[in-house]
Structures are given as C-alpha cells and as structure tokens.
C-alpha cells in the first residue's frame, strides 16, 4: 500500500464525516431559525395580550404568517452603508454577531448523546461564545460612524464584561455540583427526579445566571445597547434590511440559547421531573427527553418575554451597580457556602 492510497482513503472518510457534521448542523440550525421566527410572533402576541391588545392578526390565520412576511420584507430591503463608515467592518459586524450565537449551539445536548460536539469543556465553550458576541456589537457601533451607534457599543461593551463575571461565577457553582464541564454530564448528574436538580442548591446562582443571561442578550430591561428612547436604536441604528435581520436573528437565537442552557444546567435538561416517583414516572415514561427539554426551555423563554412586558428599562448606573455590587458578591458568598455544603455531604450531595 503506498502513500497516495492512504491519502485517498483518508479523504473519503474525511468527506463522509464532514458531510454528516454539516447535516447535523443543518438539522440544528433550520429549526433554530424557524423557532426564532415564531419567537418573534409569540413575543408580539404575548406582550400584546399582556397589554390588552391583540398583536399581529392580519397576515394568515390569526397572524400565523406574520413572521414570514416580515422576513420577506427584510430580505427585499436595501442595505445602506453610511457615508464615512468603515465599510468592511460594517459588513462584517452582523456576521461576527450571529456567528458565535449559532456556534454555541454546537455543544447543546438535546437528549442523552444527541449533541453535535461532545466537548469536555462545554460549559467554558458556551461562556466563550457568548462573550465573543460582543464584538459584533462593538464593531457595528464603531463602524457605523454614528454617535448613537457608538454610545450603544460602549454601553454594551461595559455591560457584557461586567455581567460575564457574575455569569462565570454562577457557572462555577454548576461545575462544583456536577464535577464536570461537559453539558451532557451536567444533566446526567441531576438525574433522580425534580429534587435532584441543581436549582435547589444553586438557587441564588440560578437567579444570578438567569438575570445575567438577560443582560448578556441585551434584552429588556437591560437593553441599554439599543435603548430606543435614549439612543434611538443604539448599535444597529444604521443597519437595515438583511444586515439588520442578522442582528435580530442572533439576538433571538441568544435568547433561546440562554433558555436552553438554564434548563440544562439548573433544571435537569432532558430529564423527566417524575424520575423515581413510581406511578407518575410510569405514566410519563413515553415522553421523549427532548420534549421535556423543550417544555423547560419554553418556560424560560416565556419568562424573558414576560420580563420585557413588565419592567421598565434600567438606568445605566443601576445596571453597573447590580452587576458589580450585588451579583458578584452574592456569587462570591454562595460559592464557599456551596463548597462547605458539598464537602459536608448533606442532602442533596450525599
């Protein structure tokens, strides 16, 4: 057997594996984009009802086709590059924003073993990807050559760096409980019914993580980077058409991601809440794990919309105060307590 033959065999195997990887990526991304489209619909409907309105109800039955119509509109619109802007960066920015928010899905398991990349440091990877996303915002704000956009970018940079710390500390708690950074193993560590889920010992960290997640995704009431009433639309004020829709898509993909991660890390992921509960477990045995995960994630997603409809926007100094003076101290206190708790071997760590 000579060298070229080995190479040929290698190449075929390589093409085959890459085909499967691409196929899996498509399998994750297509439903994700669809979910984003209908999250916007859900958002408008839910907030509409909360504010005693009807929400979209013209396009299609009960407004079902509204997101499709919006998408078509955005695709048809012209992208205007402002004068005096840095053109390359202006175009790259939306890509840099959406790239990490899609890439983070690579390590999200949908059921036992149903994951694109079973990475050991999955938790860290997710943290890395969510923190890279800020470059899209900063570059967009800077390249637009606009004061509002720049202000939005600056706000976003400061905010994301601050909340990332709290988020990272909250994840350390998860790591301590699960003894692993692999998301699949984190979920497996929670098996044994609803009482074994991490949200019980990690309740303060869940709150910190969840709110930091809202802040990281720039959602109301932390949408300082956009702040319609203050800086018009912040970092993406100069964007329109497809470029804008990329920002939009990434923001909603991030929302869904944060909901999934919260479900995975604190609420047992794909595990049934009735594990080890006799009859209830038998009755619900037919429900696939993915459904449980979707239910849990949908709950958190609903909460995001609920929060948006309920709370007014934070003032900037209040955001910084919350991040540095409340969240970080809370996590710093809880982590040593947790360490003692785990070492003591008291329930639920026995």
């Amino acid at each position: 057997m000579n060298g070229s033959e080995i190479a040929t065999i290698d190449w075929w195997a390589w093409i085959e594996t890459s085909f499967w990887i691409v196929f899996k990526i498509v399998l994750i991304l297509l439903p994700l984009i669809l979910a984003v489209a209908y999250t916007t619909y859900a958002e408008r409907k839910i907030i509409g009802y909360m504010q005693l309105r009807l929400g979209p109800n013209r396009v299609g039955p009960k407004g079902w086709l509204q997101p499709i119509a919006d998408t078509v509109k955005l695709i048809m619109k012209e992208i205007v590059v402002p004068k005096g802007s840095s053109k390359t960066l202006f175009v790259i920015a939306p890509v840099l924003f959406i790239g990490p928010s899609f890439a983070a899905w690579a390590v999200v398991p949908f059921d036992a073993g149903m994951v694109l990349a079973d990475v050991n440091a999955g938790l860290l990877y997710v943290l890395a990807m969510t923190s890279i996303g800020v470059y899209g915002v900063i570059i967009a704000g800077w390249a637009s050559n606009s004061k509002y956009a720049f202000l939005g970018a600056m706000r976003s940079a400061a905010q994301i760096v601050s909340y990332e710390l709290a988020m990272g500390f909250a994840l350390v708690g998860v790591l301590m409980c699960a003894q692993s950074m692999n998301l699949g193993e984190i979920v497996e560590a929670q098996s044994g019914g609803v009482l074994n889920w991490f949200f019980i010992p990690l309740f303060p960290l869940l709150i910190v993580y969840w709110i930091s997640g809202v802040a990281e995704t720039n959602r109301a009431p932390f949408d300082m980077a956009e702040g319609e009433s203050e800086i018009v639309a912040g970092f993406h004020v100069e964007y329109g058409g497809m470029a804008f829709s990329l920002f939009f898509l990434a923001e909603y993909a991030n929302m869904i991601l944060i909901s999934f991660l919260t479900a995975l890390m604190f609420c047992g992921g794909w595990l049934s809440p009735f594990q080890g509960m006799g009859v209830l477990e038998d009755i619900t045995a037919w429900v696939p794990g993915t459904i449980w995960l979707l239910v849990k994630a949908s709950f958190f997603l609903f909460c995001l919309l609920w929060i948006r409809a309920t709370f007014p926007r934070f003032r900037y100094d209040q955001i910084m105060r919350l991040g540095w003076k409340i969240f970080i101290p809370v996590t710093l206190v809880w982590l040593p307590l947790l360490a003692v708790w785990i070492k003591a071997g008291v329930w639920p760590f026995n």
């Binding site: 990475v119 990877y125 470059y135 100094d317 209040q318």
Partner: protein
C-alpha cells in the same frame, strides 16, 4: 500531509498574517481587531494540541474581556499614527537584525534544547475521557501551589492599587444614592387621602360655577 497538519498550517498562517497586520494596520481599532484574530488563531492551535481548557480560557479571558476593554479605550483615543510611524524605515534594519536573532535563538530551542525533537518525544494520544482541566487543577494545587497563591496575591494588590489610584472618596456634589432610590416604596411616596366629596355627583359643572360665584359675591 495529514488533516491535522493542514489545519495547523492554515491557522498558523492566519496567526502570522494577523500578527503582521496588528503592527502594520493604519487604523488602531483595526489593529486591535487583528490582535483578536491573532488570539483566536492561537487558541485554535491550542485546541489542536488537545489543550482545550487553555484554548477556551484564552478566548474567554483575552478575547472576551481584555480585548473588549482595550477596544473600549482605543476607540475613544485619537492616536496619531503618522507620528508613531516616524523613523520606521530608518530603524527597520536594526529591528530586522534583532528579530532574526530572536528567531535563531528560538529555532535552536527546538533543535538543541530540552525541547528538541529527539529529547522531547511526541506525547501519546490521551484517552477519550481524559480531562486536562482536572490534570491542570491537580498540578496547580500541588506542584505549583505556592506560585499559584502568589499570583492571587498579585491580583489583590492590583485591585488595591487600581482602587487607591482612582477612587477619590466622597465628593461634595449632587449624586444619586441608588440604594436609597431602590429602597423607596409605595408606602413612602404615595399617600392615598380620603377627601370628602364637596360636590355631589349629579351636579353639573355649570351649577358648580354658579354656586362658587354666589359664594364669592
């Protein structure tokens, strides 16, 4: 050439390209962004070496935090790059000589030193469940315990120094006390007073006006 070699060389090429752009880019923001790209490619090379924890830490710490703050500063500054570039051509030969000398030293590192190919064997591939996070943690808390703790003290000094250099204490100015603002509640701010109805509901405003004018006169 194996697949890994292709990946390595492409990322290495990216790294070198980005590193050159960092120092040759005309715009300081773009230079900073190329530095981000440098970090990202370096992290990819680490991933290739199965050091995934270090690779991702590089992304989280340098790309995610340090460079964001650096960009923050660079975007606000108006650096005159023309002034910085003065004497570039004049100093280039010396710089090149130094660079080549460094390269030679580093190259002999790989050929003669403890890390040369014949002395430093290729490490065996790790088992699938090998976690280099655990391995790293074990070394840090045993062999390098004292160094690790000193590093923590250095960070503490950095915090104290930064605060003592920037915090100027309470100043006499009107500022918002956020905890006081947040502590405000309905009970303190809103008072519901029961007011006796002066006019009955069925009286029209005209009648009211008439009544009042009568009282005045």
């Amino acid at each position: 050439m194996t697949f890994q070699a292709i990946v390595f060389y492409s990322f290495a090429a990216w790294l070198i390209f980005a590193a050159i752009m960092v120092i040759s880019s005309k715009n300081s923001v773009k230079a900073a962004l190329f530095l981000v790209l440098t970090f990202a490619s370096a992290s990819a090379i680490w991933l290739l070496l199965e050091a995934e924890f270090l690779a991702i830490s590089l992304i989280v710490v340098y790309v995610g935090a340090v460079m964001v703050l650096l960009l923050f500063v660079v975007m606000m500054l108006d650096v005159d790059y023309a002034a910085l570039r003065q004497g570039f051509v004049k100093k280039l030969p010396i710089a090149l000589i130094i660079a080549i000398a460094f390269f030679v030293v580093l190259y002999s590192f790989l050929t003669h030193g403890e890390f040369s190919a014949e002395k430093f064997a290729e490490p065996a591939a790790k088992a699938a469940d090998y976690s280099n996070i655990k391995a790293l943690g074990r070394v840090i808390y045993t062999e390098y315990f004292i160094a690790f703790e000193i590093a923590a003290v250095i960070l503490l000094v950095a915090i104290i120094a930064a605060i003592s250099l920037t915090f100027r204490g309470r100043r006499n100015r009107k500022s918002q006390n956020i905890s006081k603002q947040l502590a405000a509640n309905k009970k303190n701010r809103l008072k519901i007073v029961k007011v006796d109805p002066v006019v009955s509901a069925n009286e029209t405003s005209d009648e009211l006006a008439v009544n009042q004018s009568e009282k005045q006169s």
